[in-house]
C-alpha cells in the first residue's frame, strides 16, 4: 500500500512541484521556431527579440536608444551612419560582438533582399563596412527618415554570432541560434514547450529569473485555465488573452491585469474603388458620422482600448496634425445621403432603384470583429444602410484585403516602430487593404508622392510638412473609420511575478526586468 501511495505521489503530483521558484512560466500558441534572426514565420518575433539584439532599440515615445551600438552619428547629408559598438557586449557563447559580426549579418540580410522588400531600408542601403572592430558604417543611397526605426525591428536586422552561421546567407537556415540578448534558448520540444535560460554574458542587467519556460497552448480557454490553476505564471501578448478574461481576472486578488499604452490603431477601411457604392465620398462620410464608436469601445472592447478618432494616434511622432474628428451625428449622415441622391424607401435607401447595401468583411473565427460588426450594422440600419456581415476564413480575408473585394474591411496599423513611416510606405504597393481602398482616390498620386518624399528626407521640418499633407488628405478622403487604439495586455500571478513592465513594441517582452515575487 505504501508503495502504491508513493507511486501515486511520484507520477500524479510531481508535475506540480517541477516548477522552481526561479522559473517564469508563460504560454504561447506555437513554438518559438528555429530562431533565425533574419527570416519570418515560423520564427516568433517575441523570441527573436529575447535572443537577439539590434544595433539600436526603439524606446519610450519613439526615442531611439543605444543597444549593441553605444552611440552613433549621422553625416550632414543624412546618408552616412557611423555606429560605435558597445565594448562589453558578448554573444551567449562568450565571443565579442563587433563590427565584423554586424557586417556578416548585413550580408546575410542583403543576400535575401527580395524577401525584405517591405522594409524600406533594404532599398536604400548603398554599402556598409567595418571601420575597425568598434565602428560599423552604413551608407545609404539617399537620406531615409525611418532608418533607425527599421534597424530596431524584431527582424531582419538583428545580430547573430559568427559561430551561428552555416554560410554567408541565412535564408536556408542557421547553424545554431546564438545571440547577445538577455536570454538564450536552452531546450525546445515541438508542440510542447521552449525553455530559455539567462544569458550570463548579457551586457545589460541580467535577468532575475534563471529560466523562462514558454508552454505551447494553442487554445485560448486552455491558456486561461493554465493561469488559474497555476500551471503558468503569466499570459502576455496580442491575442493571447481575450478581453473578457482580461477584465474578469483583473477583479481576482490573485492576479494583476495590466495594459500597455496605445500600440496600433484598429480601423475599418472603406473602399473608395470606383466600382463600389462606397466609391462615393458622400457615402463614406455618411458612414463615418453614423457609427457610435463610444458604444463599440464600451460594449465590445470593455473600455480596455481607447476610442480612436484618427488613423494614427496624435501622440505618435509626426502625427500631431490637427484633424477634425468625424463625430457621431446620424442626422448629418442622413443629410449627406439625401443630398447624394440616396432616398429612403421604407427601411433602406435607394438610388436609381439600387439599394444602399454594402458588405463588411471580417475573420469568421474572431468574435471581437463579429461583435464590432454587429454594432456598426445596427448603427447603419438606422440611417437606411444595409450592412452585410461577411465572415471569411483568415487567408481569404487577407486575400480580400489585397484584391479589394470588400466595401468595408477590418484592418490594423502595425504598431511601433512601424507606425507611421513603414506603414505609410506599405500603402504605395498592392499588398494590403490600404492600397486597394485608396487606388481610385483622385488624390492618390499626390499622397504617394508625399510618402516618397517622407521616406527620402531626414529634415524634420520637411517631414512635418509632408506628414501634415498625407494625414490630412487620408483623413478627409474618408477611407478610414478609426475604431480604437489597441493595447498590449498581460495578466500575471502576483505571488509569482514582481516588477512587471511592458516593452515598447508589441512583441518586446521585458522578462529580464521582472523578478520572482519573493525577492521584492
Amino acid at each position: 500500500m505504501r508503495k502504491m501511495l508513493s507511486f501515486f505521489i511520484v507520477f500524479f503530483l510531481l508535475p506540480f512541484f517541477t516548477a522552481y521558484a526561479e522559473d517564469l512560466i508563460i504560454a504561447w500558441p506555437v513554438n518559438a521556431g528555429p530562431l533565425n534572426p533574419h527570416t519570418y514565420a515560423p520564427n516568433q518575433m517575441y523570441a527573436q527579440v529575447l535572443v537577439y539584439d539590434a544595433l539600436v532599440r526603439y524606446g519610450a515615445n519613439g526615442v531611439i536608444e543605444p543597444s549593441l551600438a553605444e552611440s552613433w552619428s549621422v553625416s550632414d547629408d543624412g546618408r552616412i551612419y557611423s555606429f560605435r559598438m558597445r565594448k562589453n557586449a558578448r554573444f551567449s557563447d562568450g565571443t565579442p560582438v563587433n563590427a565584423e559580426a554586424v557586417v556578416m549579418n548585413f550580408d546575410a540580410v542583403m543576400s535575401n533582399k527580395a524577401r525584405h522588400a517591405w522594409v524600406g531600408l533594404t532599398e536604400k542601403i548603398d554599402s556598409y563596412r567595418a571601420a575597425g572592430s568598434d565602428t560599423f558604417v552604413l551608407i545609404l543611397k539617399s537620406p531615409y527618415a525611418a532608418a533607425l526605426e527599421e534597424l530596431s525591428l524584431p527582424r531582419p536586422f538583428r545580430i547573430l554570432a559568427p559561430s551561428g552561421f552555416d554560410s554567408v546567407s541565412t535564408y536556408k537556415g542557421i547553424k545554431k541560434p546564438v545571440g547577445s540578448g538577455p536570454w538564450k534558448i536552452e531546450e525546445s520540444r515541438l508542440g510542447e514547450y521552449d525553455i530559455f535560460a539567462r544569458n550570463e554574458f548579457y551586457w545589460g542587467e541580467k535577468p532575475a529569473f534563471d529560466r523562462l519556460i514558454v508552454k505551447v497552448l494553442p487554445d485560448p480557454n486552455s491558456r486561461v485555465l493554465a493561469l488559474e490553476t497555476g500551471a503558468v505564471d503569466m499570459l502576455i501578448g496580442e491575442g493571447v488573452i481575450s478581453l473578457e478574461n482580461f477584465v474578469r481576472l483583473g477583479k481576482n486578488d490573485k492576479f494583476e491585469a495590466v495594459k500597455s499604452g496605445p500600440q496600433q490603431s484598429n480601423v475599418i477601411v472603406i473602399n473608395a474603388g470606383a466600382d463600389k457604392l462606397t466609391g462615393d465620398k458622400a457615402v463614406r462620410k455618411a458612414l463615418l458620422h453614423a457609427v457610435n464608436r463610444q458604444v463599440v469601445v464600451k460594449g465590445v472592447l470593455l473600455d480596455v482600448e481607447a476610442p480612436a478618432e484618427t488613423l494614427f494616434r496624435p501622440g505618435l511622432k509626426f502625427c500631431g496634425t490637427k484633424l477634425e474628428p468625424y463625430g457621431f451625428d446620424p442626422a448629418l449622415s442622413e443629410k449627406l445621403l439625401d443630398e447624394a441622391g440616396w432616398k429612403k424607401d421604407g427601411n433602406i435607401r435607394k438610388k436609381n432603384g439600387r439599394p444602399l447595401e454594402i458588405s463588411l468583411y471580417y475573420i469568421g473565427t474572431d468574435p471581437r470583429q463579429k461583435a464590432v460588426g454587429e454594432v456598426i450594422q445596427g448603427d447603419l440600419a438606422k440611417i437606411g444602410v444595409k450592412l452585410l456581415l461577411k465572415a471569411q476564413e483568415e487567408v481569404s480575408f487577407y486575400q480580400a484585403q489585397k484584391t479589394g473585394a470588400f466595401d468595408l474591411i477590418f484592418n490594423s496599423t502595425w504598431g511601433a516602430p512601424f507606425d507611421p513611416h513603414s506603414f505609410l510606405s506599405s500603402m504605395r504597393a498592392s499588398s494590403h487593404a490600404d492600397y486597394a481602398a485608396q487606388k481610385d482616390l483622385p488624390e492618390k498620386a499626390a499622397v504617394d508622392k508625399a510618402i516618397n518624399s517622407i521616406l527620402g528626407t531626414s529634415d524634420e521640418t520637411a517631414l512635418k510638412k509632408y506628414y501634415d499633407y498625407v494625414l490630412t488628405a487620408l483623413h478627409e478622403s474618408g477611407v478610414y473609420m478609426p475604431i480604437s487604439y489597441g493595447v498590449n495586455t498581460a495578466v500575471y500571478n502576483k505571488s509569482r511575478v514582481a516588477g512587471f513592465t511592458f516593452g515598447e513594441m508589441k512583441t518586446e517582452f521585458m522578462f529580464h526586468k521582472m523578478k520572482p515575487a519573493e525577492v521584492k
Partner: protein, 312 residues
C-alpha cells in the same frame, strides 16, 4: 482469407491515387491562391513581386497535370514536400506528432473495450435493475455531453478545484487521464448501450433457447452462445469509433495542449498548408481502410460462416 486480405490491400492503391488527385485538385482550384496562403503564413507582405517569386518557388506557375505528377513522383518516395508554416519536411512533422495521437486513441480504444463491453453485458443481464438504470443514465449523459465541454469540466473540477491532476502536458502518464476520459466518453456510452441491446437480442435467439433446452449451464449459454454472437455488431461499431476517436482527437489535443497529429492537421487546414493537408488526407484514408480491414478479419474469426472472397 489471405486472398481476401491481399485483394483489399491492393485496392488501397487506386483509392489512395483517387483521393490524392481529388484533394490536390480541390486545393489548387479553391478560392484561395496557394502562393498567397504561403506568404500570409510566412508573414511576408504579399506584393505582386513576392507573389510571382513564390509561384515559381512552389512550382505553381506550371500546368496542373505537371504539378500533380511531380508531387506524385515525390510522394511515392515518401517525400511530401516542405510545410508552408513550419518550414520542416512534412513527413518529419507527421511522424513527430503521430505517436501522441496513436497513444491517445489507442488508450481510449482500450478504455472503451475494457469498460463498455463488460458494463453493457452486466446491464443486459440485470435488465431494469438499479445498475442498469444508472448505466443507462450514464450513456445518455455520454452521448449528450460535447467533448470540449466535458474536457473543460474535468480540468475545472480535477485541476482547478481539487488540484489532483496537472491540467496540461504529458510529461507524466497522469497527463493522459483527462484526455482519454474526454475522448472516449461518448464512444464508451454508445458502445455500452449497443452491447446491452445486442446481448438482449441474442438472449432470445433460437440457438440460445436450444442450448438451454440441452441443459447447458447458464455460464456456458451466455459465454458461448450469447456473447460471441453479440460481438459482431460491436466489432463493426468499434471500427467506426476508431475513426471518430481520430476525429475527436483534434479537439482533445487542442484542449489539453497535446502535441498530436490532429491538432497539427487542423492548424494546417486553417493556414492552408497544402503539402501537409495532402499528406494528412492520404494517411487518414490509409488508416480508415486498414481499420475496416481489421474489423472484417475479426468478423471472420468470430463467425467462420462469413467466407470472404467466395460469396460473390
Amino acid at each position: 482469407m489471405a486472398y481476401f486480405i491481399i485483394k483489399r490491400l491492393l485496392l488501397l492503391i487506386p483509392i489512395l491515387l483517387a483521393v490524392s488527385f481529388i484533394v490536390f485538385f480541390l486545393l489548387r482550384f479553391g478560392p484561395v491562391d496557394p502562393a498567397y496562403a504561403y506568404l500570409t503564413q510566412s508573414q511576408i507582405p504579399p506584393t505582386e513581386e513576392a507573389l510571382a517569386q513564390t509561384r515559381i518557388e512552389l512550382g505553381l506557375d506550371r500546368p496542373f497535370p505537371e504539378q500533380y505528377l511531380s508531387w506524385l513522383k515525390k510522394a511515392v518516395t515518401m517525400d511530401f514536400g516542405i510545410s508552408y508554416v513550419t518550414k520542416r519536411p512534412v513527413l518529419d512533422d507527421v511522424l513527430y506528432y503521430l505517436p501522441v495521437t496513436l497513444k491517445l486513441t489507442g488508450l481510449s480504444m482500450l478504455f472503451i473495450v475494457f469498460f463498455s463491453v463488460p458494463l453493457g453485458v452486466y446491464s443486459a443481464l440485470h435488465r431494469d435493475g438499479p445498475w442498469d438504470r444508472g448505466l443507462s443514465l450514464l450513456s445518455f449523459a455520454g452521448v449528450s455531453f460535447p467533448s470540449f465541454w466535458l474536457g473543460f469540466l474535468l480540468i475545472y473540477v480535477l485541476s482547478l478545484k481539487l488540484g489532483w491532476l496537472a491540467p496540461f502536458g504529458i510529461s507524466s502518464p497522469s497527463g493522459y487521464v483527462m484526455p482519454v476520459l474526454t475522448l472516449s466518453f461518448m464512444s464508451f456510452a454508445i458502445n455500452m448501450r449497443l452491447t446491452r441491446t445486442s446481448v438482449l437480442e441474442h438472449m432470445g435467439a433460437r440457438s440460445v433457447v436450444y442450448a438451454r433446452a440441452r441443459g447447458l449451464s447458464e455460464r456456458n449459454v451466455i459465454g458461448k452462445h450469447v456473447l460471441k454472437n453479440s460481438m459482431i455488431p460491436i466489432v463493426t461499431s468499434l471500427g467506426m469509433h476508431f475513426g471518430e476517436l481520430l476525429g475527436g482527437a483534434v479537439i482533445v489535443e487542442t484542449l489539453f495542449a497535446l502535441p498530436g497529429l490532429g491538432r497539427y492537421a487542423v492548424g494546417s487546414i486553417y493556414s492552408h498548408d497544402y503539402p501537409v493537408i495532402q499528406c494528412f488526407m492520404l494517411l487518414m484514408t490509409a488508416v480508415f481502410i486498414l481499420v475496416n480491414l481489421a474489423a472484417d478479419i475479426i468478423y471472420a474469426w468470430l463467425n467462420p460462416k462469413i467466407r470472404y472472397g467466395e460469396a460473390g
